[in-house]
C-alpha cells in the first residue's frame, strides 16, 4: 500500500479503516487498478518518479460524510485532495498536487437540489456535470440555459472553482462570477455557508451573493481552504433568438480600433456573446495546413496585407453574437455595423436571426456551447485529436492579457519569439479569447509526450516561459500541478505579500495542512518548513 509521506503504514491503515466506516468499504480505493482513474491523463510527469500519485481515494455520498472524512483526516494528519469530477485535463485532472494525498472524490455527490425557473438559479453538488444539469433542465422542460465550457463532461462546481469560462451571455460565461452561495466543509469538519446562506432558513441564498460582512467566497476559488459541497449558480433565461455576424478589417493595425469597438459594445451590454477574434496570420493556428504561398506570422506586414487583399480575406475578423428578442438582437447587430463602419474597409457578413431553441440539425458542426449545449467535440482539436501529431496530452500556458489591440500584438509577438527560442512544442496557440470581461486570455497548448527526456526539456522551457511572460506583465490564470509553484512565484508584489497572506490564512484555517496541499502554490506550514 502506498502511504502519504511521513505517515506510517499502521497509521494509514487505521485512517483507511476509519474512512471505510464512514463511506462504506466499497467506496475506499487503495489498489493500483482502482487508483488508475486518479492519475492525470495529460501529466507531463507521467511515469516519472515525480508524477503526482494518490495513495488512496475516498468517495463520500453526503456533506455529513465529507465532514466525517475530513475530521478523520485531521486526526490522522492525512493529506486529502478534493476533486469534483477530475476532468480539468491540462490542469491536473483527478491527480493530487501532493503525491501520497488521499483523493476525496465527490462524483457520487451528484444531486441537483433545486432549480428555480422564475429566478433562474440552481443549487447543486460537486458531482453534477454540465451534461447532468443540461439533461435535468431539458427533462423538466424549463426555459433556462446553462453556460458550459468545452468539453462539457466536467463538474459545474469544479469548473467554477478553477475559474473556467464559457461562451454565452457575458453575465454567465465567467463561471465563478455566476455562482451565488457556497457550502463548504472546513478543515476542522465544520460546515460553513456563505452569503445569505449563513442565515438559517434564508429565502435568498441563491439570489444575493454577499449577505452580510466580508465576502469570503473568493477564498474557495483555486483554494486549499475547504471542501465545497454545494454551490448555487445563476442560470440564463432562455433567449428567444440569436444572431452571429462577422466583422472583418483589412489591415493589421486595425485590430486596435476593432477591439475598442467590441469593448464598447460589450461594456454597454449592446453585445452579449463572446467575441471571437481571428486572423489567418496568427502563428500556430488551428489544424489544417495553410496555403503554401500564404505569408506567415513573421512575414513583413505589407506582404501579409497584400496577400489578404488579393484573396479577399480580412486581416482580422471578429465573430460577434447576440442573444435576446429577435427585434433587439437585429438592432444590436445593426448598431455593431454602424460602430465598426468607422474602420476604413470594414466588412460584414452573417447577421441572420435564428430562432431559439436551436434545432438539433443546426447544432451539427457548430460549437454547441454557444447555445449552452454541452459537448465533447473539443477533443478533435485537443492533444488526442485526429489532426495533430500523437501526443500524451498537453500543458497549457494561459496568460491574461489586456483587452486592446496593442495588447494582442505585443503578447503574440512575445509568445511567438519565446516559444521558438525555447523550442517548446506548441500544438495550438489560441486566438485571444474574450470569455471574461475586460481581459483576454491566450491558451498556448504545449505537447506532452511519452518520452521523459522530451518532457523534461518541455518543463524547463515552460518554467522559463512563465517567468518571461510575468516579466512582461502577463500572469497565468491557471496551470498544471507541476507548475503551480512557478506561477505563484511570479505573483510576487511586495515580497510575495499575496502568497504570505494565503499562507497565514491557510495556517489559521487548516493548521494541520490536510486539504489540497500545494494547490495553486500554497503549502501548509509543515511542508513549507521542510522545503526551506
Amino acid at each position: 500500500m502506498r502511504t502519504p509521506t511521513g505517515i506510517s503504514e499502521a497509521d494509514f491503515a487505521a485512517a483507511i479503516a476509519a474512512f471505510e466506516s464512514v463511506v462504506g468499504k466499497e467506496w475506499v480505493f487503495t489498489s493500483d487498478d482502482d487508483l488508475e482513474p486518479y492519475r492525470d491523463a495529460y501529466s507531463i510527469l507521467r511515469d516519472e518518479p515525480e508524477e503526482r500519485i494518490a495513495s488512496a481515494a475516498v468517495a463520500p455520498f453526503t456533506s455529513d460524510e465529507v465532514q466525517a472524512v475530513v475530521r478523520i483526516a485531521n486526526e490522522h494528519r492525512i493529506p486529502i485532495y478534493p476533486i469534483s469530477t477530475g476532468k480539468n485535463l491540462g490542469y491536473g485532472g483527478a491527480a493530487p498536487v501532493l503525491s501520497g494525498s488521499v483523493v476525496l472524490d465527490l462524483k457520487r455527490m451528484n444531486r441537483i437540489l433545486e432549480i428555480d425557473e422564475r429566478n433562474s438559479y440552481v443549487l447543486l453538488e460537486p458531482g453534477v456535470s454540465y451534461f447532468d444539469l443540461y439533461r435535468a433542465i431539458q427533462d423538466k422542460g424549463l426555459n433556462l440555459w446553462i453556460d458550459c465550457p468545452d468539453p462539457g463532461w466536467g463538474s459545474v462546481v469544479g469548473n467554477a472553482l478553477d475559474y473556467g469560462g464559457g461562451y454565452t451571455h457575458s453575465w454567465y460565461r465567467n463561471h465563478f462570477e455566476a455562482h451565488c452561495g457556497t457550502e463548504v466543509v472546513l478543515a476542522n469538519g465544520e460546515l460553513l455557508r456563505t452569503g445569505m446562506g449563513a442565515l438559517p432558513g434564508a429565502k435568498t441564498w441563491q439570489q444575493n451573493k454577499y449577505g452580510y460582512g466580508p465576502f469570503v467566497d473568493g477564498l474557495f476559488k483555486q483554494s486549499s481552504l475547504g471542501v465545497v459541497t454545494k454551490m448555487g449558480f445563476w442560470l440564463y433565461p432562455a433567449p428567444e433568438a440569436y444572431i452571429s455576424g462577422v466583422v472583418g478589417v483589412p489591415k493589421k493595425a486595425d485590430i486596435n480600433a476593432l477591439v475598442d469597438v467590441i469593448n464598447y459594445l460589450e461594456n454597454t451590454v449592446s453585445m452579449q456573446g463572446m467575441p471571437v477574434f481571428a486572423s489567418p496570420f496568427l502563428p500556430f493556428g488551428l489544424p489544417g495546413a495553410p496555403p503554401p504561398d500564404m505569408p506567415t506570422y513573421d512575414s513583413p506586414v505589407a506582404e501579409q496585407e497584400a496577400y489578404a487583399a488579393a484573396h479577399n480575406l480580412p486581416y482580422w475578423t471578429v465573430t460577434v453574437s447576440y442573444y435576446g428578442a429577435p427585434e433587439v438582437v437585429k438592432a444590436q447587430w445593426d448598431y455593431t455595423k454602424r460602430k465598426a463602419s468607422a474602420i476604413a474597409g470594414a466588412t460584414f457578413s452573417g447577421g441572420d436571426v435564428v430562432t431559439m431553441p436551436p434545432k438539433r440539425e443546426m447544432l451539427k458542426g457548430m460549437n454547441r456551447s454557444l447555445f449552452g449545449v454541452p459537448s465533447l467535440s473539443i477533443f478533435f482539436i485537443g492533444a488526442r485529436s485526429e489532426h495533430s501529431d500523437p501526443t500524451q496530452g498537453h500543458i497549457t500556458c494561459s496568460p491574461i492579457i489586456p483587452r486592446t489591440g496593442e495588447g494582442i500584438s505585443e503578447a503574440y509577438d512575445l509568445i511567438f519569439r519565446t516559444t521558438k527560442r525555447l523550442e517548446l512544442p506548441v500544438t495550438i496557440l489560441s486566438p485571444p479569447i474574450g470569455c471574461w470581461a475586460r481581459t483576454f486570455v491566450i491558451l498556448v497548448m504545449i505537447a506532452v509526450t511519452e518520452d521523459p527526456a522530451k518532457n523534461k526539456r518541455t518543463r524547463a522551457g515552460f518554467r522559463e516561459m512563465i517567468r518571461i511572460l510575468a516579466e512582461h506583465g502577463y500572469g497565468e490564470y491557471r496551470t498544471a500541478p507541476a507548475f503551480m509553484d512557478d506561477v505563484m512565484e511570479t505573483y510576487s508584489f511586495n515580497n510575495h505579500a499575496l502568497r504570505r497572506f494565503h499562507e497565514t490564512v491557510k495556517d489559521a484555517v487548516d493548521p494541520n495542512g490536510i486539504i489540497s496541499a500545494g494547490r495553486y502554490g500554497v503549502w501548509p506550514k509543515h511542508i513549507r518548513e521542510k522545503k526551506a
Binding site: 466499497e26 469530477t85 476532468k87 451534461f131 467535440s377
Partner: protein, 141 residues
C-alpha cells in the same frame, strides 16, 4: 439523484483481447449479442468492422468521430444502471474520452490495438474493448 455508480462488478468479458487480436472484421464476428459497437462512418475499415459485428447481433452506434450524442442520450444513462461493454474501431479522440468516462463508472479498457488504414498517410485507427473490471480481491460483499 443517481444510484447506479457501483464500481464493483464481475468480469464478464473474458477472452476479449483474443477476439480482437485478429483483423478487425474477423474480430467483430465473435462479438456477443447485446454488445455495443462504436463505429466511425468516415473510415472504410470501421464500416466493415461494424457491418460484420451487426451480423453477430451487436448493436452499432454510428458516429463521425464525435460521440457527444451517444454519451449524452444513451451511454451516460445506460452505464449508471448496467456495465454494458463496448467495442470500437475508431480514431483516437473517441477512444480516449470513452476510456476516461468508462473509468469513472468502474469499467476499463481490456484491449487496445492500433490498426493501420489502407489509405497511405492515414493515421491508424484503434481497435478497443471496454468492459467491467474484475471484482477487487478482499472487497466486502
Amino acid at each position: 439523484m443517481l444510484t447506479g455508480w457501483d464500481r464493483r462488478d464481475v468480469l464478464i468479458t473474458g477472452g476479449a483481447a483474443a477476439v480482437f487480436a485478429a483483423a478487425p472484421a474477423a474480430a467483430a464476428t465473435s462479438l456477443a449479442v447485446r454488445h455495443i459497437v462504436v463505429a466511425d462512418a468516415r473510415f472504410a475499415a470501421s464500416r466493415a468492422f461494424a457491418e460484420t459485428a451487426a451480423k453477430s447481433g451487436a448493436r452499432i452506434v454510428w458516429t463521425e468521430g464525435d460521440i457527444t450524442d451517444f454519451w449524452r442520450d444513451e451511454l451516460d444513462l445506460l452505464w449508471r444502471h448496467r456495465k454494458v461493454s463496448l467495442s470500437g474501431l475508431t480514431a483516437l479522440p473517441a477512444f480516449f474520452y470513452l476510456e476516461l468516462l468508462a473509468m469513472d463508472r468502474g469499467l476499463r479498457v481490456v484491449f487496445r490495438q492500433d490498426v493501420r488504414q489502407a489509405e497511405s498517410g492515414a493515421r491508424p485507427l484503434i481497435a478497443w474493448r471496454i468492459a467491467s473490471k474484475p471484482v477487487r480481491a478482499g472487497a466486502a460483499a
